[in-house]
Amino acid sequence: MRELVIISGKGGTGKTSITAAFAHLASLQGGAMLCDLDVDAPDLHLLLSPEHNEEHAFRSGFEAVIDPALCTGCGTCAELCRFGAVRPGQGDDGTGWRIDALRCEGCKVCVQFCPAQAIGFTEKHCGQWYASGTRFGPMIHAQLFPGEENSGRLVALLKKEARTRAEALGLSLLLCDGAPGIGCPVIASLSGASQAVLVTEPTPSGRHDLERVADLCRHFRIPAAVIINKSDLNLQNSADIEQYCQEQGHTLLGRLPHDEVVVRAMVQAKCVTELPATPFSEALRSIWERIVHLEPKAAARPVLFQPKPNA
C-alpha cells in the first residue's frame, strides 16, 4: 500500500487545504483511505464533513493522584519528581502536597516510592477517535482532548486502523494530513510512510522549517517531495528553495500561487478543486498527477544522518 504523508514543519502553509484537494482528486481515480494525523488541532474534517460511523475512546498513559487522607506530608514525592508536578498545598490550610496534572508525566516514580502508599495511579482518557465516511471515501481521524499528551501514540493507533481498514476495502492508497513541527506526532506519522509531501512557503520560516522537516525525513529514510505554496509572495525565495531541493535530491513537485480561493473554499467547507477552476486548482491538479506517477525511490542521499549545527 502506498502511504502519502503531507507535512510542513511550519504551520499554516496549506497542508490541510492541499490534502483535502488530493482526497478529492484521488476519489476520481480509485479512491484512498483518508487520515487526519494532526490529532492535536485537526482541521481536515472541516472540509470533508465526515459522518462518524464509529467512535472510540483513546486511553493512554496514567496520572498520579495523592489521597489527602493518607498523605503524611513527608515530601518524598516532591523530592523525587523530575517534572515539578508535585506542588505544595493540598489541604485548605496550605499543608500537604498535590499533583499538578498538567505537569505530571505519568512516570509512576512518586507512586512507587511513597512510604505511605498515598498516591493512586489512574489511566487517562486522552481523546476520541473516529472511523467515518466522507464524500471522497472512508476517513480515520481523532481529537485529542485539549491539553492532553500521548499524541504520538494516538497517531500510531490511527495509522494502524487506517491500514487495516484500507486493506479490507481493497484501497491501495493511504493519504494522511500531518501535524506541524518535527516532534513525536510527526515522527509517528512518518513511521511506515512511503512518501512525504512537504508543503512550504517562500518565507524565512517556511524555508528554515522545510530544511528541518526534510532532515527528519532523511533521518527516517522517507523520500521527500516539495510543494512551494504562496510562491509569488517572494520569487527569489521560491527560486532558492527549488535550488535547495535540487542540491539535496528532494523531488520538486511544483509551485502554487498565493490565492484567496483557498480561504473561499474553506468558508464553503469545500476543496479548491471542487470550485470553478483557478490557477491555484489547476497547478494543484498537475502536482497531483506528478505525485501519482512518482517513481518509488529511496530517501534522498541515504548518507549517514548528521544534523546541521545551525539548521
Binding site: 514543519g9 511550519k10 504551520g11 499554516g12 502553509t13 490541510t16 492535536d40 488541532a41 482541521d43 472541516l46 498513559g61 496514567f62 523525587l80 523530575r82 517534572f83 515539578g84 505544595p88 498538567l102 505537569r103 508525566e105 505519568g106 512516570c107 509512576k108 516514580v109 512507587q112 485529542l144 485539549p146 491539553g147 492532553e148 499528551e149 499524541s151 504520538g152 506541524p180 513541527g181 518535527i182 516532534g183 513525536c184 510527526v186 515522527i187 512557503e201 518565507t203 524565512p204 520560516s205 528554515h208 522549517d209 528541518r212 527528519l216 533521518h219 527516517f220 504562496k230 509572495l233 517572494n234 525565495n237 498565493h258 480561504v263 474553506m266 468558508v267 467547507a269 544534523p307 539548521a311
Partner: protein
Amino acid sequence: MIYAIASGKGGTGKTTVTASLAALWDRPVIAVDLDVEEPNLHLFLHPELTSEESACMEIPVLDAARCTLCGECAAFCQFKALSVMGKTLLLFPEMCHGCGGCLALCPEKALSPGGRELGQIVSGHFRTDHSSSGRAQDAGFLMGRLRVGEAMSPPLMRQVKARLPQTPGTDILIDSPPGVSCPAVNAVMDADVIVLVTEPTPFGLHDFRLAVEAFRPLGKPMGAVVNRAGIGDMGVQDFCRAQGIPVWAEIPFNRAVAEAYSRGEVVARAVPELHAVLLALMARMQGAAATSISTANPAEVRHA
C-alpha cells in the same frame, strides 16, 4: 511579567506578532522562542547570538556486569525504555522520559545516569526600537532548538525556561509552539498573560476554540489577536464576543505585510499602519498583566 503568545492553529502569525512586540516593547524585555521544534523568532529579530550549548536529559546507562536481570526496572518503566530479552537488559534511550525511576529502583545499582542530547539552548541579544527613555536598548534573546530526530520537546522547553532570569522589572515574551497539547501547554503554563493569535477562517476558529478550552482552566488573563482580518468570515469575532474574550488587536490582511514577512522583516517596522496596532496591543497586554497581579494566587505570582 511573562507573556505567552500562542495559538491553536499553526501559521496564524505568532512569530510575526512576537517579533513586532519585542521590537516595540517599551520596558526591559527578553524574547524567548519556545517553539523548539521549529524556532523561527531569530529569523525576524536577527539577534546577535552569543552562546550555544547542548541540552541533555538524564537517561540510564547499564553496567551489564552488575545486572542480575531481575527485571524490576523494565516492569516499572511506564515508557517501555527497558526490556529484558533473554539474557540481556535492552535499553531504548529514545523512549526514556528521564524520570529517574529505574535508577532509584535498581537493587544492584547496575544503572547509572547518562545523557541523551535534546538539542541546543541558544542565547544572545537584539536591539529594541525604543525604551521608556525614548532610546533603543539592548534586550535579551533565548531559544531552544530541538535536535532533528528527537521526539520530545517538553524536556528541552523546561530547560530553556529554567534559564529565564528572575529579574524583577524585566518582561518576558514567549513565542509558543502551535497546537493545544503538551508542548503548547508547557509554553503557556508559567505565563501571567496569554495572547492567542488566530485568523478569521473556519480552521482558525476551530483551533482557537480548542486553545481557549485548553488554556482557560489555567485561569490567566487571555486576549485574542485576529490576524489577516478581512479574509474569511466573522466566526472568530462572534465567538470572542460570546465567550467574553477581548480582541486586543486586529491586524488587517495586506499583501505588503505578507511580503515584508517573506523578507524576514519585523512587520510593525516595515508596514507603518501596523505600528499603532501593535503598540495598542502592547498596552492592552500590559494592562491585563497589571490586573492579574491583584487577582492572582499569591503563591503563583512571579516577578511581582
